[in-house]
């Protein structure tokens, strides 16, 4: 197995954080639920090793973007629910904006004919 290059990992982590914040906007969720949701909503495109989700969530928690609380369901073991905070909502808006700009610019570069356009200027 080849390890993921650091640059790819950074990019993926950034995207994952954004996706996590988005999912938590809908409703609070626990870890297992979040990975299932990511797999479902990205149709398996954003593949993650599930164990690496938690360190990511800790990072968000440290930044104050998400908060946690333990809840015990009627049946089954206690679960730690993550919910988005006020700061998290703001960060989400900013990061989404940044992501869209980034995506558009990269797309523009990748677009066939991008070089010609530059030549016209």
């Amino acid at each position: 197995m080849t390890p993921t290059p650091p640059a790819d990992r950074e990019l993926k982590r950034g995207v994952l954080e954004l996706v996590l914040l988005r999912l938590l906007q809908d409703r609070p969720a626990y870890g297992y639920e979040l990975v299932s949701e990511i797999a479902r909503r990205t149709e398996g495109e954003l593949e993650i090793k599930e164990g690496t989700l938690y360190p990511l969530l800790y990072r968000l928690e440290e930044q104050g973007l998400v908060a946690t609380s333990w809840e015990t369901p009627e049946r089954g073991a206690p679960r730690k629910y993550y919910r988005i905070t006020e700061v998290g909502e703001q960060a989400f808006a900013e990061r989404t904006e940044r992501w869209r700009r980034f995506r558009d610019r990269v797309d523009a570069v990748l677009e066939p004919g991008a070089r010609e356009k530059k030549g016209e200027e």
């Binding site: 297992y32 990975v35 599930e50 164990g51 938690y54 360190p55 800790y58 730690k80």
Partner: protein, 236 residues
């Protein structure tokens, strides 16, 4: 892989404030639990969690470890040397008592010399590498709240623990240690060879009394020597 085995493998590669490590363990356990509630076996959940070593590495990315400097390590070494000296006292006393008043001490001294040599070798091979390989620290490091880790911030192997002690064997101790002052990760030359480094244990530095305490074993040695030289002859 069972969940217990998985957690053991993931956590043995993790260093960090106890609270955070426990949180991580609880979360991973809950993940297995959530899977079980959906009828998934431990092996299935473990496969999706990813290799435990990789999961541990992702946890470690969020932990900042502080490399330990020359003096903290020197004091830990002084303490370890003191512990070894104290451990050697009974043998020393035994030799002293046998030689004392013996008309032909030659063979005993030779035997003692050979024994001392073997003991030194034992220290090089056993004390440091076994303790550091097994517990990532020696008593001196434990006292100074230090720990040996791999450059990737994971637990070191016995091989690494042995390798980083070879300077002791070749008597390059001082030269080797000077590297700590100039290298970026504050590594000894043989730390670089073994790909190891020494860090401050997360969650608090050693206070002044701990620094002082490094001399405690030497106080025992001094008391012993005093007893041998001054008190001994008077009773004898």
């Amino acid at each position: 892989m069972t969940r217990d085995r998985y957690l053991e493998r993931a956590l043995r590669n993790v260093i960090g404030p106890r609270e955070r490590v426990e949180t991580f363990a609880t979360d991973l356990r809950a993940h297995f639990e959530a899977g079980a509630e959906r009828g998934e076996g431990d092996a299935q959940v473990a496969a999706r969690l990813g290799p435990p070593e990789e999961v541990a590495a992702s946890f470690m990315e969020g932990i900042t470890l502080e490399t330990a400097g020359f003096f903290a390590r020197l004091f830990a070494f002084v303490a370890d040397a003191g512990v070894l000296a104290v451990l050697g006292l009974p043998a020393f006393a035994a030799v002293a008592l046998t030689v004392n008043g013996n008309p032909d001490p030659g063979p005993i001294l030779i035997a003692a010399f050979v024994f001392l040599g073997l003991a030194m070798l034992g220290v090089v091979i056993l004390y440091f590498p076994l303790l550091e390989g097994r517990y990532s620290r020696t008593p001196g490091k434990w006292w100074m709240r230090l720990r040996v880790v791999g450059e990737e911030h994971v637990r070191i192997t016995f091989g690494q623990a042995f390798l980083r002690r070879l300077s002791l064997y070749f008597e390059l101790l001082a030269l080797d240690a000077i590297f700590v002052l100039f290298t970026r990760k504050k590594q000894r030359a043989f730390d670089i060879v073994a790909r190891t480094m020494v860090i401050h244990e997360p969650g608090g530095r050693a206070g002044a009394w701990r620094w002082l305490g490094c001399f405690a074993p030497w106080a025992i040695v001094a008391a012993f020597a005093w007893a041998l030289v001054y008190v001994g002859p008077r009773i004898g």
